[in-house]
Amino acid sequence: MKRLALTIALALSGTISAQAVEYSQVQPERSSVAFVYQQMGVSVDGRFRKFASQLSFDPARPTAGKAVFDVDLGSVDTGAAEGDEEVAGKQWFNTKAFPTARFVSGTVKPLGGNRYEIAGQLSIKGKTQAVVVPATFTAQGNSGVFEGAFTIRRADFAIGEGSWAKFDIVANDVQIKFRITATGK
């Protein structure tokens, strides 16, 4: 009987202290990295099939949160095979020389509720820019879901050079949307 009471007490304390879980195990099959841009005024979206990340986030101590995110640029899915081939090329990502895009987090600022603002450095194609990424964090059972979107300008990273450098066909702004699911240790 004592043992049962102890088990219940432990179980209860488990739910209460769920907030103290540190989320660090990214679940790639429940995560996505997508992008949206304008092509002659038409919204077109795509995604990256492969990415890896090291993450540690404890909702009880959000400012200590850290993330390093690597996106395999060759795993791009533009929706058309010829598009995938084109953006891997020299004028776009130049994946031979720069296979990955990397985001390294800096300061995490809680905005109240489940909203956060993560400042960080984004490096693509040998160019690094400071970005501020707004995100929400939602605990779902054993896992936590980070969701957010931010906009970059492709010209800042020399993505789309030469005949693509003008923005009349493919706009400069590209919105990056992510949904990262991580479980506790």
């Binding site: 092509q39 002659m40 038409v42 077109v44 929706g79 010829e82 005949s163 009349d168």
Partner: protein
């Protein structure tokens, strides 16, 4: 009894003829181009023109419903009259089906059609690669069929004019000089 088409029907016929020749030529030309800003631009133009052609064929059908075309000459053999009607029916069916297949293909491929970059045409289908590839084949096959039916249409009109020497072609031409 009038032997001519109405001026509206004549105008719609030739306007669509120009548009359709442009669309066919552009469609066959653009698909083999390497990806470039130019290619994306041509695809957008093709889609805008395709939506326009679809709207024009609706106007044309509405006009035709209220204005019966002049009858075929009685000298024409019955099987040939039947062939003429079947040919025209096929042309109308293809003029409707081809833009629809193009629109559905664009939807399935995830590239929405936005008329002249301003008016978004809703995507009826969700993004689906296999379905997109299938619809591309459908769009392509319908156009090959269309080109064949158009060749028959033009050939028949020329045969009527130069061999049968009847008024089938001239009654669809804009009127010159004094109306008879």
């Amino acid at each position: 009894m009038t032997r001519r088409y109405t001026s509206t029907a004549i105008a719609l016929h030739w306007l669509m003829a120009i548009l359709i020749f442009g669309l066919l030529a552009l469609g066959f030309y653009m698909q083999d181009l390497p990806l470039s800003p130019e290619k994306l631009k041509l695809y957008s133009w093709h889609k805008w023109a395709g939506v326009t052609a679809f709207l024009l064929v609706l106007v044309r059908l509405a006009w035709r419903a209220g204005h019966r075309p002049p009858p075929l000459p009685e000298t024409m053999a019955k099987p040939l009259q039947f062939a003429a009607h079947a040919g025209h029916l096929a042309l109308y069916a293809l003029m409707l089906a081809i833009p629809l297949s193009g629109w559905l293909m664009s939807s399935a491929k995830g590239f929405q059609t936005v008329w002249f970059g301003v008016l978004p045409i809703p995507d009826l289908l969700d993004k689906n690669k296999e379905l997109g590839d299938l619809l591309q084949t459908v769009h392509m096959s319908l156009n090959l069929l269309f080109a064949a039916v158009i060749a028959g249409h033009v050939g028949a009109a020329l045969k009527h004019h130069f061999i049968d020497k009847d008024d089938i072609l001239s009654r669809m031409l804009p009127q010159h000089g004094e109306p008879k």
